[in-house]
Assembly symmetry: C2
Homo-oligomer: 284 residues x 2
């Protein structure tokens, strides 16, 4: 029996600490246990602990001060983009107008079986495939793979795709979009997406798969989007709509969300290192 491919120990400790930090077990500014203590706690060597801390530091989750300790960095300083889920598509279009787009790949060819089926293509019908990366402030945050039927793709040029939202181009061609389905999931970054999004292979990604239909029911766009979770997430506000015993909820539409001004009080000098709270004891 071969040993299964097990993640490295350093990675395990990195994940453990990261979870504690983002879960709020360790407030921003708190000093986490020293490297020797962490090594003893997890039964690994100090070198391995340092590797884990290296990763945390590179992600900006902690800040190390020689001679002093390792401190939880104020994570609210790097707030991710927020997409209101009740209005994703128009939101994305708005973003298409305020962010940069890099067109990585563009061409026509035979679709895969899965794409052909989801778009409802006739056998032998070809598609246009494009891969784009969206950037905000010069940093990539989404990796988009779109498939469009050939007859529709031919109505715009490669340069136009790089400059304008795809849905706008689709509608410009005379097609009316009426209905869409989308699914949200999670996956790990493969080599290509990792390179495009400036991530390590194996990083977590949010995925959105969307199919847009025209009134006749034909699919006109198949989108597979990968998002960096640290730079993008979906939000929605829900309001209660069901009867008293029903507990039914609906998305609250229309309101532009308040931009979440987090007011973190900076931890100043003269403050004693907050002892790490031993959250809530699990009972054994």
């Amino acid at each position: 029996m071969k040993s299964a491919v097990e993640p490295l120990k350093a990675r395990r400790i990195y994940l453990l600490l990261r979870d504690r930090i983002v879960a709020g077990d360790m407030p921003a500014g708190a000093r986490l246990p020293g490297e020797p203590a962490l090594a003893a706690e997890h039964a690994v060597s100090r070198v391995t602990v340092r590797r884990a801390l290296d990763l945390l530091e590179k992600e900006g989750l902690v800040q190390r001060k020689a001679g002093s300790g390792t401190f939880v960095h104020d994570t609210r300083s790097v707030r991710p983009i927020v997409a209101d889920l009740s209005n994703v598509l128009s939101h994305l279009i708005d973003m298409g107008r305020s962010t940069d787009v890099k067109l990585l790949s563009f061409g026509y060819g035979a679709p895969s079986e899965a794409i052909a089926e989801s778009l409802g293509l006739k056998p032998g019908e070809r598609v246009q495939r494009s891969v784009r990366v969206r950037l905000i402030d010069g940093e990539p945050f989404s990796y988009l793979t779109t498939h469009v039927p050939e007859w529709l793709g031919l109505t715009y040029s490669e340069a136009e795709l790089a400059a304008r939202p795809l849905l706008e181009l689709i509608e410009r061609s005379g097609v009316t979009t009426e209905r869409a389905t989308q699914a949200i999931n999670a996956t790990l970054a493969g080599p290509e997406a990792a390179a495009a999004l400036d991530l390590e292979i194996g990083s977590p990604l949010l995925t959105l798969t969307r199919i847009v239909y025209e009134p006749s029911g034909r699919g006109v766009e198949h989108l597979h989007a990968l998002y960096r979770p640290d730079r993008y997430s979906f939000h929605m506000d829900l309001v209660r709509t069901g009867g008293d015993g029903e507990r039914r909820w609906s998305p609250a539409l229309g309101w532009p969300r308040a931009p979440e001004k987090a007011k973190p009080e900076k931890v100043k000098s003269g403050e004693k290192p907050t002892r790490v709270p031993r959250a809530i004891k699990q009972r054994s």
Copy 2:
């Protein structure tokens, strides 16, 4: 300069192949390149390729036949649970009535700073913290961590929490829930969640963070949910509601999605590693 913690080569190839399969590049039933060919293509040894294929086989994505080849398994046989996003909460409650729940942890204590802030607690106010795992057909698919203000948590017992949906217990106490916000994101499985969900550490997870408010604006529930993406995903149907040049969309409410029944032959069980304490069955 120390080499950064880099994912194992086998893992990289596993991710690469997995992406190709789920992207539909290789239709179900197709035979993928032989192990020597894959080894040459990715400049690794055949042993490493086999490791990657072991992972794919364990996840049910491929099927290996000695002497013949490795074939893409029909992925449609393992459809994940689908939650309609336009109606998540009631959907979850419905599921609470048809799935098993294990209560892993239950207790009271001081909340973390992040929890206290999001629930709008007064300084010093305590919370009830519980960790539960939901199972469908005996297989875990979600790992739920909830925080509830102490005054509210005291209105129900530990056994009740294990048997009934939390929102139902909250409303039973007389609190009316009016508004909620939720955010969807992705992360990697830490040691605890990985063990509870029967996954390897570092597996991708869908996350849902939800805060439910009562009319006064006080938070009454903070939920942090982790979902196995192969067993759970969010779906939504969108309809066009905006004007002609507007491209505005809204979730289509109302219709419960057909659960896409597909009963695969059970591959192999053989193991029941559940060492989780206190499994409480519930069924109406």
